[in-house]
């Protein structure tokens, strides 16, 4: 089983949140947590509550992750289902929910105006007889409203900072955030109509079939009205095909004219 992506993720995660890696080998990874990170992922609120009350710094833990099940030194066996990994995913998503970032410009450029973009990453959930979801990433130019799909991939290789680089200034958005966001929603709505709809048909078919079974059972007085209504609702939850949109994260990204142009060239939708 390939556990490399999980290790890569953890390494990046701990790096970004200033938890130093203290040991690393081909079979394990050991990190020193900061107090803040310990509080967030180690689930020991009483300890930290106590430490704060006592005005003491506390002793943040060290975590060891290993590649295998052989718990030689009590490490956490890291794989797709490791509970700690999922806690960390949750923390990463909570901490990285919103942003306002400016492209890092190393050398002074001719035109220092930075174009604002709304970047929205979302999950499109498909729910019916079966379920799945699809991550989608969008960027909407807040000056003239051009929409780009696969935004995160496009931004790969660019660097952003919370501060504006020297000799640059952000432009004020023309389109406000709410209407920019609803344009993205509209786009997703349209997108759903272009998809293969066999799963929708399957689900509806199943729903109708089971509804009629239930109707006949009710007609023969084998169940009461309450039971019948309840079962009807349950069938609906189980089979009625629907989508839902869940935003992972989003923010305003200011980019140089050059980068903006570049993105527009790659424009996908």
């Amino acid at each position: 089983m390939n556990t490399k992506p999980h290790f890569d993720f953890l390494r990046q995660f701990f790096n970004s949140y200033e938890c130093p890696v203290i040991e690393e080998s081909s079979h394990h990874l050991k990190v020193q947590l900061t107090s803040q990170m310990d509080e967030e992922i180690m689930n020991r609120p009483f300890y930290w509550h106590y430490m704060k009350k006592m005005n003491r710094p506390g002793d943040p833990m060290r975590l060891t992750f290993t590649h295998t099940d052989h718990a030689q030194d009590g490490g956490i066996f890291l794989h797709a289902g490791t509970p700690k990994l999922h806690t960390i995913y949750q923390t990463a998503m909570e901490k990285g929910k919103t942003a306002r970032l400016y492209e890092v410009i190393q050398q002074p450029i001719q035109n220092g105006a930075l174009t604002p973009w709304l970047v929205i990453n979302l999950l499109l959930h498909y729910r019916g007889k079966q379920t799945k979801d699809e991550p989608l990433s969008f960027g909407l130019n807040l000056i003239h409203g051009t929409l780009i799909k696969g935004m995160m991939e496009c931004l790969d290789g660019h660097d952003f900072d919370r501060k504006v680089s020297d000799y640059c200034f952000p432009m004020t958005p023309v389109i406000n955030l709410k209407s920019a966001y609803s344009r993205i929603e509209k786009f997703v709505e349209n997108y759903t109509t272009t998809l293969d709809d066999s799963w929708i048909k399957d689900s509806l078919h199943q729903l109708e079939e089971e509804k009629s079974l239930l109707d006949s059972f009710y007609a023969s007085e084998d169940i009461g009205l309450d039971q019948f209504t309840q079962e009807r609702e349950q069938l609906d939850t189980r089979y009625r095909p629907r989508f839902s949109i869940e935003v992972i994260n989003g923010g305003i990204f200011y980019m140089s004219q050059q980068t903006s142009q570049h993105l527009l060239m790659k424009k996908q939708p």
């Binding site: 289902g81 901490k95 799963w199």
Partner: protein
């Protein structure tokens, strides 16, 4: 146009956060969040993601197939009816995990016999990384707990009932669901009125007596699927002999039920080796056994039956009954009991106990010993201790924590566990692969349950079973008649339970008991037992041919 549920809150959050820069993240944090989200997505409709999440559990092929089928073909409502010991719990756990990963099951309720609650909680935690809660006495936070394990009896109490019924559960799992076969019981009605999206019923015996049992189970899952009850009865019950109808219903039910059999799963890798040990009473013991027969003349027949059976087990068991009988008897007839008590006191150690200690000492491995009597249980514990063999007692009457503790002790410290009959259900002891049936139960199904404690999914070694019986006693009859003829050990019993329950004129136990107590002579016992056995054989063969 298909409904699209939108994310209403995000853009508001973003607007707020833009005014509070400390809530905003940097580029790395932003990328990490997106990455984390893509790691947790469900890329496709098909398949079991749970398998990647649980690399430390070795699921068997039939378990994975079952989970796959339930999730993707049966749409999450099904009866899991594998034979005993094939890992129904693991299948249910796998399905549960899959639904949790797919994000469509958050509120989950697991109803199981009280004795299995701890085991479920433990397995969910260790094997599936699922934290489950179970209510104790008055502490119950049904609304706050996402995954709850409890017994039906607890759940339907006045105190909890309303609250539980008000919660829309995403998934409900009911273990030992054959207890819901009657739709007029409170339990059945309670389960039927639970709010549930997905539902799994676990049972090794989906049909206990009649086809309508199955009708009622299916009605929980898919009301109307088998038509209505009146028509169903007309169609199937009155013409139960008509095989065409039965086949029809089998094919219908097949879409709602998964039933793996031992012989199809390769679980036979672990074989059973059965040794029937015929022991001989010492002269004193044999003489006393003979003397007991004199009781037959002027006492109710069960008096002799009880005492004879007990004498075959231990002096102590017999003594306890004698004492009991004496205290109930009138003063002039007390003498006879005193006489026997006196005689019993003079007997040497029991032959079975000696043999048992011998076997255990020779092998040096872990053993589970089953007896029918508590007095025997105490005696054996003492006897083993005298031989320097450590042992723990086990009984179904122990409370939850004591059971768990005894099991732990047996696993880590003691060499032998001595269990009474009531301990048969609800403990798994795969780490042990040798069993001594110190006395044999009169119902072969109960023996099957005993064996099921060690010969089950997860057992890696061959299982060795010793059955004790004493020559020329009723035990000998039981062994010869029941166990050797029915060949119970060769084919793990699938349909036998059904047949045994269907014998006309009372259950199997009752039959044996009345044969034993009402017969005048050895010959009569043998003839009657032969009849009973051939009836069972006949039913088995008939069933085999039809399937």
């Amino acid at each position: 146009m298909i409904e699209i549920q939108k994310d209403q809150s995000f853009i508001q959050t973003l607007t707020n956060h833009l005014d509070h820069p400390d809530k905003l993240t940097n580029w790395d944090g932003f990328k990490l969040a997106y990455q984390a989200a893509t790691f947790t997505t469900i890329p496709q409709f098909d398949g079991l993601l749970a398998l990647d999440h649980l690399p430390h559990v070795d699921f068997l092929e039939h378990q994975v197939d079952a989970a796959n089928k339930v999730v993707h073909q049966m749409n999450g409502r099904a009866i899991l009816a594998d034979e005993v010991g094939l890992g129904k719990t693991l299948e249910a756990g796998l399905i549960l995990k899959e639904y949790m990963i797919r994000g469509i099951a958050k509120k989950i309720l697991i109803l199981t016999p009280a004795s299995l609650v701890n085991q479920w909680v433990q397995e969910l935690n260790e094997k599936f990384y699922i934290q489950a809660a179970s209510p104790r006495k008055k502490q119950a936070a049904w609304k706050d707990w996402d995954v709850t394990v409890t017994s039906i009896d607890m759940a339907k109490r006045e105190l909890h009932r309303e609250e539980i019924l008000s919660i829309p559960y995403d998934l409900i799992i009911i273990d030992e669901a054959h207890k819901l076969k009657n739709h007029q019981t409170k339990n059945y009605q309670f389960v039927q009125s639970l709010k549930k999206t997905y539902c799994l019923l676990l049972t090794a015996t989906p049909i206990q007596n009649k086809l309508s049992d199955l009708f009622n189970l299916i009605s929980i899952l898919k009301p109307g699927y088998l038509g209505n009850l009146t028509d169903f009865k007309k169609k199937y019950q009155t013409h139960a002999k008509n095989n065409g109808n039965i086949e029809h219903i089998h094919s219908l039910v097949g879409k709602m039920m998964i039933r793996n059999r031992r012989k199809d799963t390769g679980l036979d890798a672990s074989k059973r080796e059965v040794v029937n040990e015929r022991l001989t009473f010492t002269e004193e013991e044999a003489a006393l056994y003979q003397e007991l027969e004199t009781l037959k003349r002027n006492h109710p027949s069960f008096t002799w039956l009880t005492l004879a059976k007990e004498l075959c087990s231990s002096r102590e068991a017999c003594y306890m009954s004698l004492k009991q009988m004496k205290s109930n008897a009138e003063s002039e007839s007390e003498n006879i009991y005193d006489y026997f008590i006196e005689k019993i006191g003079q007997l040497p150690h029991h032959v079975k106990a000696k043999r048992m200690a011998e076997i255990i000492e020779q092998s040096g491995e872990k053993f589970i010993v089953f007896t029918e009597y508590r007095a025997t249980q105490f005696y054996l514990q003492w006897y083993l201790q005298q031989h320097g063999i450590s042992s723990v007692p086990f009984s179904g009457k122990f409370n939850k924590s004591k059971r768990d503790w005894m099991k732990q002790l047996f696993k880590n410290k003691a060499q032998v566990m001595i269990a009474t009959e009531a301990g048969g259900e609800g403990i798994n002891l795969q780490f042990c692969h040798q069993m001594i049936n110190y006395d044999l139960p009169w119902n072969p199904m109960r023996l099957e349950q005993r064996i099921g404690r060690i010969h089950r999914f997860g057992q890696e070694k061959n299982v060795k079973i010793y059955n004790f019986a004493i020559e020329n006693t009723i035990e000998d009859h039981i062994m010869k008649m029941l166990y050797e003829k029915i060949e119970i050990f060769k084919n793990a019993v699938g349909d036998l339970d059904l047949i045994l329950e269907q014998i006309p004129g009372g259950s199997f136990d009752q039959q044996v008991q009345s044969i034993m107590s009402q017969s005048e002579s050895q010959g009569e016992i043998e003839i009657k037992m032969n009849n009973l056995v051939s009836y069972v054989e006949y039913s088995i063969n008939e069933r085999r041919e039809s399937s």
